[in-house]
Symmetry: D2
């Protein structure tokens, strides 16, 4: 596969590294230092303008820019007949993301959205266990995700709504929404709040979400930039057991999956825990899924329609907050 | 102090044990076996009808019946000039509980409501730390509380709405509401749901609550009778740190308080944990507070007004569910 | 099976409860209160003298006396043609225990010694995993076991050498020795110390043991009555992984088995943990093994020869201490 | 202070970084790449031969070579009138290290040995607590320390006895010895074994040590290069409590100190835990102690005499193994 990497920041570089074995033809970033650094690493040609990247001889584009450019570039890439792996949220609004889906429907291109959390081993195994019926029909989900920012965090691009499209809700909140939809199917916003408690800025630093699925199944979610101790916790309750995922590695703690299985006599459940203290492989596995989707061997795990449904929930919360 | 214990079940017996050093004059329960057992233990006279208990020569009544009798008996006790320690929720509805407050205002009686969680050592120390400013101004609270029932749970009195006034919301949910009000002050219902997911019965087995205080401070609460592994977690976020309380002893795990204190350079916080692996002393300490309140040495921690405000939230959720 | 229970203390009562479904014909204890209580529970006849118990029409005797009577009674039972389940250590010295083995060899009786730790689920599963080769050939074992006594502990029978045969070494130490022998096979004493640090008495309150097996495989063991926080930890290292068992339930914490499996690239191992938060079933499972051994369906897990080898190590440490 | 850094590997570079604010005049390493890299970082002159480094105008030398050069260079530095911070073990044998102490006694130079574990915050606080009497008179210590090597580990310098002076005993084992001596005072070898279980090489990959102090106080230590999951655990038992230190950061897990304090009624102790999830500061704090020792404001924590006593124990174990 011949590839362009558009956006050469931290994530773009990780995407490039995860594409080992493929041919990165061109890398693109308005910042010369960043595009040159990645060009040296990959042996690719460096360009400043994404139109130039798309005019190269490539099969697919990996798009890892700030939020404001994701949809525009992804749309351009699809329209030019390329497959696309675009970072979440794939746009600042559902209005931005929908044309990508429409264009892909016409061109037959594969669009995958970078919901990399689905490829964390504890979450992937939890999904497989849930589908095997290990905890019976699902009842509800609780998710907590957050970090505590850093000195000067309020001066970063995430605090400029025109660039980011929003704060913690569109950042870590949308990962929780995506994971919840993955396990529970379609969800509607029952309640949402996106307050700003701490960081001086124009975006939300916390979001509280109640999402409801069929039969009243609930996803009860909170994401926070004021979670002073980094935290990732995702709990999935079923009729006969419970799955919990804690940690994502690094400062979020060792990634762990725990299965609690109810016994017929009830009382304390049978508990098994798996630990994943390994370096994060989610980008590698996600790229493999992207290739498999292009080759028709597997569906894209995290599609553009997932991104649109996600952004509709995000927008509904922001609209509610403004109302 | 001369005491009556009205309701001789598990909790009534714990209240009697916690009153060591005082004179339990009479114990009362319609069930002869239960009242006789407690009479033997305490040396008290046993009666079946609570009117007879109140006609004894007593200073105070400890009322630990099912929910449907709490308000009626507490009101009778206050009107007859006695001090009262009544179990939470102190009635099935705010309408039932309000007359107790009014009568006490007239008689000058002390009414304490048995929100015993405030007397768990981890929570009591968390409250003291929060008041000393250990985590700065408070931002939000997250609470999770639950158990998994037991075989035949749906046949117990909690599943009869006329007796219980509701399911998990009025049971463990109201403890979370009370603790949140203790830390954040008055709260209004922003969102509430009380679904029935698992237990075949006429009451809710889960409740999801978003309670909002001044300045948008949030209490984000979930209680569950389908929490297959017993869980108590209460997290209090402030501008400069975080307090977490986990476990309540026994099957809820060892009770622990953790203080995360942010450093000026941000990054990982300074963390201190205290463990309380001791037998539950909350009933003893709560009784001591009741006596101190009667003697004017301290306010009642958990008042009838706290119970009324709590029931107003509970009722609002149930009304919303019926709407 | 028709049974006698000889010794009606805490352990004797547990043995009786674990024999559910069998016929307890006679219970025996010099203490009238204890034997009468167990007689009421089991419907058995109560006698004071163990000779009378053995003259009843029984197939097997469960012997749970203080250490000084174990060997004498077990020998009598075997000589009278009965099968025997005798508590560890099965005597105060190897000299006391050896005649039991000799008599059983003649009579064909089954003798099982109550090394109940082998029947704790985490240890039983660890043994099965080790035998399947889950961690490769074994390298060494580390064991730590201890508690902190209680007020007045030094006045209990364990502090009278004539009754107990020794202190912490023959108490919890011999469990560590037995488990090490179970995993590593025969072991010789390379180093042993049995000091008295804290408890005023004539017996050791700590023991430190280095036991060596074939190829220099080491069991590195410490047991303590001055372990202020109750502790059970047993770690088994193999060439390709590690098994750790922590907790035994109750005040020792939830029983857990963890398997660390090395990956070909080394680095952090793959880790799986199983939790056993259930009430202790080891006595029930051990009794089932006793019956299976009598019926020739399985070997006795924890034999009289295991007990003799164990006492030889204990005695070697005490001799060294006296030298 | 004007400094030479002799040995520019990983540890030498850490020592240089920890000396911020002082003037690193010269850096020295036979390997040109390594000395040039550190020269660029520090602005120092680079030399290949340590004699040249000592002929520069310096007050003190930081010596971080392989074990075989430590004593020779430290002796040279002391004899030339410089203060010395030399890595542990300060020589391969006590015979190598003793002349340093003798020369320093004559010259009045300050010699500090890099037992940096004493400067880890959990251990430093544990030492302060023990000295305040927080756990009463000390009874014994248990230490476990280990890692699992890495692919090709057996080809590294630690496996060449002429360079390293030994395997895991002189590596991590000597840290455990040093910490035990720090808490318990002088110790004699009661038992020691240094087997080779796994790594194909001429040195030990495990060591088991029983060190005895006054009144039979024991340090019961094990260090291992076959500890597949990285482990640091140091437990200090006193008459009224227990201190445990777990983790050293990074792959050893978060550094934690726990204080268990016995209550008068015994039973479960009062437990407090402090976490240190911060980047390792031990080298910075150790350097500050070195400067304070030079300036006469504090004793050197970790002296050349500590190193000699440590090597005497190491040598006794190796002699026993050879016997």
């Amino acid at each position: 596969m011949r590839l362009a990497v558009i956006g050469c920041g931290f994530i773009g570089a990780k995407r490039a590294a995860a594409a080992k074995g493929h041919d990165i033809v061109v890398v693109c970033d308005p910042d010369a230092d960043r595009r040159d650094a990645l060009a040296r690493q990959t042996g690719a040609r460096a360009v400043a303008d994404w139109h130039d990247a798309l005019s190269a001889d490539i099969d697919a584009a990996l798009i890892a820019t700030t939020h404001d450019r994701l949809a525009e570039i992804a749309l351009g890439a699809v329209r030019s007949g390329r497959h696309v792996l675009v970072e979440k949220p794939a746009g600042r609004t559902p209005q931005e993301a929908r044309p990508i889906a429409e264009a892909a429907a016409k061109s037959g291109a594969t669009i995958k959205v970078g919901f990399n959390h689905r490829f964390h081993p504890a979450l992937a195994r939890a999904k497989a266990l849930a589908e095997e019926g290990a905890i019976g029909p699902l009842l509800f989900i609780r998710g907590r995700y957050g970090h505590g920012g850093r000195l000067g965090y309020e001066k970063e691009w995430r605090f400029v709504p025109q660039i980011s499209g929003g704060g913690e809700l569109i950042d870590q909140g949308s990962h929780l929404i995506d994971l919840s939809r993955w396990f529970l199917g379609d969800l509607r916003l029952a309640y949402g709040a996106a307050p700003t408690y701490f960081w001086q800025g124009k975006v939300d630093d916390n979001c509280f979400l109640a999402l409801e699925g069929r039969d009243g199944r609930m996803a009860w979610l909170h994401a926070s930039w004021t979670e002073w101790k980094n935290l990732f916790s995702f709990e999935i309750m079923g009729k006969t057991g419970k799955l919990t995922i804690d940690g994502l590695g690094g400062s979020y703690g060792v990634e762990r999956l725990t299965l609690h299985r109810m016994l017929p006599e009830m009382g304390p459940p049978e508990t098994t825990t798996w630990e994943y203290p390994f370096p994060d492989r989610s980008f590698v596995d996600e790229f493999a899924n992207f290739i498999a989707a292009i080759e028709g061997r597997a569906p894209a795990v995290g599609s553009i329609n997932d991104a649109i449904a996600n952004l509709e929930i995000v927008q509904a919360v922001y609209n509610r907050a403004r109302a």
